[in-house]
Subunit: 354 residues, 2 copies
DNA sequence: TTGTAGGCGTTATCAC
DNA sequence: GTGATAACGCCTACAA
């Protein structure tokens, strides 16, 4: 059962295949009569255009590549979902490639996407190594980095990033507003730039409140629940222990809360806790977790939007696309001890020119 | 900066483009000298083969389509991850299409995949409508349905399914083994075949234990946490309330546990609870949740493995591929009141011929 | 308004 | 061993 091509339709309609091509493309150069006849015929014969053949002559595939570390990360999944939705809306297909954070697989993925001649590449949450960056740039197609810290923008590289600093600032400010003066910061993995940015937001909030930074209140973590669990005894052992803790992320906060419960420390009465990320779990732990939510949906939409801007037109003109920084939103739940009023703050977008 | 093709390499190497094609394909028909020379040249010139052009002549794209309702579902994400990993391993690319469970988008997705000329399609967790099935079959490529209840296998359609019945049987048996005699079943959404199968497993376990089925012990739910929350008062109001509950899924179980805590009912002392699915949350609620884990990784691997079997060869011979049914594994945690010994039971595979 | 011819980047089938 | 040449399915000048 061979596939039906425009030539088959041409034969059946007694016209040339170019006429069929035009009719299916709804060209004005073909009479309405034959146009309808051909379109009906195409439908009846079960014609499906061959995207491969089309891109070969058109020079664009209407396809984008999405590189993720793992689609298993709920964060990334949400972003990819948004990307796919917008892509579909504009007639683009999405090729998914996961790297498992292994450099060699990341490179293999890029090469695969290159062979597939994708019109653009979107990369999420990659700690882009210099070497990898070179491979990306060599692609010769626009690249949009999402929450992937790129040191310097290349000619093809653009970015959508989350404002970690401001997010942590909001979280800390929230605790300050509740009257806390001894506020700890439980960090994530060391030398992770996300963590550094969040720590900076924490410090800024304290500075603004004219509090001196007590280095003892900043304890290391891991990014996982164990980090929070190990942090609790360290904090309790302090001569002047904190009454609140701002955590690198939700899992750290959850670890801290679990450890507190076991130690008989009441959250939020004895220790108020805020997390970061708003993972699904956050609304199911007890107490439910106050945290900073990232607008994954928007980030995906913006990223794909940038791609669409970049690939539209014939590519000759210089494109004017700005990097984007999105702001988070504080989600107040039980763990911080505030009256849980669904807050909807600062869900604005800050644009930064390239 | 035009792309470099084999013709460009041919010019640079003073050979014909066919020789280049052969050299790059590592054909034995070309002398080692020129072969190496050409391959080096290709690398230096930054050549990347054009998958479009190749598939056009080869008749296969080395590409599969994956249709999901939403990649946001951690379950589906895990399966897709496994699919992508195996696909990558065998040199296949995956095109992702999400339907949001909307029929029209599901059809649009299938048409897109058809235009992309994917070699096969994998569908996860779709409640495949008859209409949709027709569209799928019309594709003319093998289709593997994962946890998508397909009434009857078509010539191109194969399946990988989870044994819901056996899973619920295991869960219920576990509660029986702990001495419970009044065991409730909190259902999911009505007319969902997963739920029906799980309920059947529950009934079977009770029957085998020579217990009469009390219809009052089977209460409706929603599939979400609210279903479990609403179930609790219904169960407590019974003249002879249950001492244990087997839930349609983890979210239902978690809802039940949350409601129990608020009502002062101790879990597992007053009410033992088991869930189904082993979502990430299950190990973080308190008490941690005893549940039935589905081997998502395996399901993805099997599914992609079937695809590889189906597309290998020249397609002329009849393929012998069996539908697959995978078994779950009971994960014993705190909520059922058993001593939490990591159990590794029944992780076997049952094959059913097509 | 329609048809003819060429080409997109490959691989495959012939000759030489 | 290597080189012409013809596909694959589509689009698009150019010609009629």
């Amino acid at each position: 059962v061979r596939r039906v091509s425009i030539k088959d339709i041409a034969k059946a309609a007694n016209v040339s295949h170019s006429t069929v091509s035009r009719a299916l493309g709804d060209s004005p150069l073909v009479s309405n009569g034959t146009k309808e006849r051909i379109q009906r015929l195409a439908r009846e014969m079960g014609y499906s255009p061959d995207a491969q053949a089309r891109s070969l002559v058109m020079g664009r595939t209407q396809t984008v590549g999405v590189v993720v570390t793992t689609i298993t990360d709920p964060f990334i999944a949400e972003i990819v979902q948004a990307i796919e939705n917008t892509a579909q809306e504009y007639g683009y297909s999405v090729i998914l490639a996961s790297s498992n954070a292994e450099p060699e697989r990341e490179i293999a993925a890029v090469e695969m996407l290159q062979s597939q001649r994708v019109d653009a590449v979107l990369v999420t949450s990659s700690r882009v190594g210099a070497l990898y960056r070179d491979h990306l740039e060599r692609l010769g197609v626009p690249i949009v980095l999402i929450n992937s810290h790129h040191m310097q923008a290349g000619p093809y590289t653009f970015s959508v990033e989350f404002d970690n600093r401001h997010g942590a600032y909001l979280a800390t400010q929230h605790l300050l507003g509740l009257g806390h003066r001894r506020i700890a910061y439980v960090a994530g993995a060391t030398d992770h730039s996300d963590d550094e940015e969040r720590a900076a937001g924490y410090r800024r909030a304290l500075r603004e409140a004219r509090l001196t930074l007590d280095p003892q209140l900043v304890v290391p973590g891991t990014g996982g629940a164990d980090g929070g669990e190990r942090a609790l005894p360290v904090l309790l052992a302090l001569s002047d222990p904190p009454t609140a803790a701002c955590c690198y992320n939700d899992m750290t906060a959850i670890g801290l809360i679990l450890a507190a419960r076991r130690a008989g420390v009441s959250v939020p009465a004895d220790l108020a806790v805020v997390g970061f990320d708003d993972i699904p779990l956050a609304r199911y732990v007890s107490p439910t977790l106050t945290t900073v939510a990232q607008p994954m949906l928007k980030m995906g939409q913006f990223a794909m939007g940038m791609v669409l801007d970049l690939v539209s037109g014939d590519g000759s003109e210089q494109r004017v696309v700005s990097d984007i920084v999105v702001q988070g939103r504080l989600v107040i739940r039980e763990s911080s001890g505030a009256i849980p009023i669904p807050a909807k703050l600062n869900e604005s977008i800050l644009e930064v020119s390239t």
